[in-house]
Symmetry: C2
Subunit: 450 residues, 2 copies
């Protein structure tokens, strides 16, 4: 039979075999430099979700390699082109594990992308804003020194309102017209909207093809590109249709943030603040000191915030890929936030802006329940102000608007709305449906005129 041995292997296994033994991906995998393992403090079955294993004394549990010298690790041809080696954070999901590469100039390091390409055909999914800025460089990185690879692209309209089934169909149309087969690779080049759509398209095309994330917003770099949640919106709610589907790798070139509008930068920082609040008090304290640097796009501050955010997200996802419990804590502020996004119409408030206001509401409710002290309320307020993020929902939101959208939230189980709330010292949260309904009502009334 002609079926080669490699064809019989799982895609992730064959990708490992395809990587040359001398490249740094394999060294990285085989030496297990980064291991994200369950800790007794963060098990989803424990009754309370404790503070992060990343912070303070246990910081060494999550190790990120920052390579000092490229020479022994990176392929010669690459080290000539660019001597900056990436920081790597590994997402540990058994045979679906994958690396996140973080650094400046990574789009000019073709080997990083090429080692994760399966087959000879690539479809880059991007939009009208990001395509003109970076599609040429990505195409070059995919094909340089590799004439066998052919690259197609599909340029979607830009905006959350196009994160829908009609726009998704354009990706399938392009893939099918281009006669892509199972061994192709989809590449998401853009923010969270493109990443979520391209990921879902990759999950569903021919029942699943490989894909790679190249996130180009802070939001996508610190959150949406990591962890495998993909999907699209329905007119009645956000992200209601989708799949859990992991990429082959995530490539974060921090230089792409140079073209990002200020408002988008701030929106992404809302998720960075979130990691501090739910599980990493030390990171929150770092942010309190460094927010001005982040707002001024200081490259090393941004790189650190992205790395630490990815580590937090990677650890949570490793422990609870399918969101049985722990992973839900990543949605601090999101239930209120989604209601805001739906209420004002998708795309008017940015996701992170809505999450910022939502976090303030969740913190307010936690305080009303007596679960946190008022210093946390104040610090959350202050850090979001510093990041020029909203600290209250827009005036048009009513209590009824919140309630009707929250009723269809994915975290409703058998009719009970569970929320992520802070409890205890900074860096601790709970995911629970066991709270006084009056506190929720009081919070909604406090933030809504009617």
């Amino acid at each position: 039979m002609a079926l080669s041995t490699a064809n019989s292997l799982s895609p992730s296994l064959s990708s490992k075999l395809k990587s040359k033994p001398s490249d740094c991906s394999v060294r990285f995998r085989s030496t297990n430099w980064i291991a994200l393992r369950p800790s007794p403090f963060s098990s989803p079955s424990s009754t309370e979700l404790r503070r992060s294993t990343v912070s303070s004394s246990s910081a060494n549990r999550v190790i990120s390699m920052i390579r000092a010298s490229a020479a022994p690790v990176i392929d010669q041809s690459v080290s000539e082109a660019n001597s900056r080696a990436p920081t790597i954070v590994e997402v540990d999901l058994g045979d679906r594990s994958y690396p996140i590469y973080i650094g400046s100039g990574l789009l000019d390091q073709p080997d990083l992308l090429q080692r994760h390409i399966h087959g000879k055909r690539v479809l880059v999914v991007t939009n009208e804003t990001v395509g003109p800025l970076y599609l040429g460089r990505v195409t070059d990185a995919l094909t340089r020194g590799n004439p066998n690879v052919s690259v197609e692209s599909v340029i979607l309209p830009d905006g959350e309102k196009y994160k829908d089934m009609d726009t998704l169909m354009k990706v399938f149309d392009k893939a099918i017209e281009s006669r892509l087969d199972r061994r192709c690779t989809f590449v998401a080049l853009g923010g969270g909207v493109i990443g979520d759509m391209c990921g879902f398209a990759a999950a569903a095309f021919l029942r699943g093809v490989n894909f790679i994330q190249i996130p180009t917003t802070v939001m996508a770099q610190v959150d949406s590109s990591v962890g495998g949640k993909t999907g699209i919106n329905h007119p009645l709610g956000k992200n209601l249709i989708g799949a859990f589907y992991q990429p082959q790798c995530v490539l974060i070139d921090t230089d792409t943030l140079n073209t990002l509008p200020d408002r988008e930068l701030a929106s992404g920082l809302a998720e960075v603040v979130k990691y501090g609040l739910i599980r990493d008090a030390e990171f929150f304290e770092w942010q309190e000191k460094n927010m001005p640097k982040l707002m001024a796009r200081d490259p090393s501050a941004l790189a650190y915030a992205i790395k630490r955010s990815c580590e937090n997200k990677a650890e949570v996802v490793s422990l609870d890929e399918k969101e049985s419990g722990l992973r839900a804590t990543l949605n601090l502020g999101h239930t209120f936030g989604h209601a805001i996004e739906t209420g004002v119409g998708y795309g008017r408030w940015l996701h992170g802006e809505a999450v910022a206001a939502g976090m303030v509401m969740a913190v307010d409710m936690s305080y009303r329940l007596g679960w946190i002290d008022d210093s946390i309320v104040r610090r959350v307020h202050d850090i979001l102000k510093e990041a020029k993020l909203p600290t209250a929902p827009p005036e048009i939101m009513t209590v009824e608007m919140f309630k009707s959208v929250m009723a269809v939230d994915k975290k409703v189980a058998d009719g009970l709305l569970r929320l992520i709330l802070l409890k205890g010292p900074l860096g601790n949260c709970v995911f629970t449906g066991d709270y006084d309904r009056n506190a929720l009502d009081d919070t909604l009334r406090a933030f809504c005129k009617s």
Copy 2:
């Protein structure tokens, strides 16, 4: 934290916990009566796909329990209502394993369905033909003695041409309007079209909810409901968008076949013939003797054919869930068949009719390659004639039509079309791209006028 322990478990684990220890599902699982294990002869990495482990001497590898007496196994209330216990074939996929129940009168055994329902909300997806016939009984089976469960339904238009994104959206619309949450269960009630669509909807709704298959055609009972392939068509090709997604159980009530049109019955038998040809010569010989009984809907002949087909499919799927190699052999005749279905327009030829003609073409090509002797060609022809199935493509098909559709087939890898062809004695096949292109051309020319 209020999050209950059960919520932190994986869905399949919590389903096991929810089954009462005294019910036969748990007994079944814990005693491991049916084990489908890899055999050295059918490993997908071997160079040739050998004859079935099901046939002749190794028949005992796949064991189906036919329960002689219901009393000790089936819950008392059920055994009163119906004394016929189901045949059970287990699909062995680790923590995603599930049972196939086969028997007469199973729709009147509420416990079979109820033990696999997660949460309190059920959405039955059916169509305008099957709904009026069976929806009432299924709703009754879901709710009898179980007033906590509420059942919604969505009735789709009937036909392969509605296996599309627009119709799929109606399922999401209904689920979202009904405010179903993650703990709901989708139930597919109908033939392969409904099963494929409902399964994909379940895979994508909220990134995955539980689902149950109640197949009501021979095609769905012997093939499409088993193995977790779900999906919809694209205007340019069949089943191009979908997911691998396994049900909680498959419930086959053979009585539902009493309302099935003759042509649909025959269409399903094409897949039954397929199992014999690719891996189960003994089953093929049984069919040669029993085709008249199957055509006359003899209940016990049908039940045997369904059981043996499910065993074959379950074993192949257990060995190769994601179609790395072995599973592709289930597509004997399908590459030619899909070209026919696309060429004549979806829904004019039934799937099994197209597969029958496609199998004749694959067998013809295998013979031209010198891989099988002419007695097999004749026997395939004869058995399909006996089942009143086509043995050649329709006259409108041209060589070009075949070639253009086959070029976008999912089994194309890096541009090379791989086919399932028979090789050796009856019951043996190969999945290969290594064949003389002239044989393919000769076959196409032999079956097309232009």
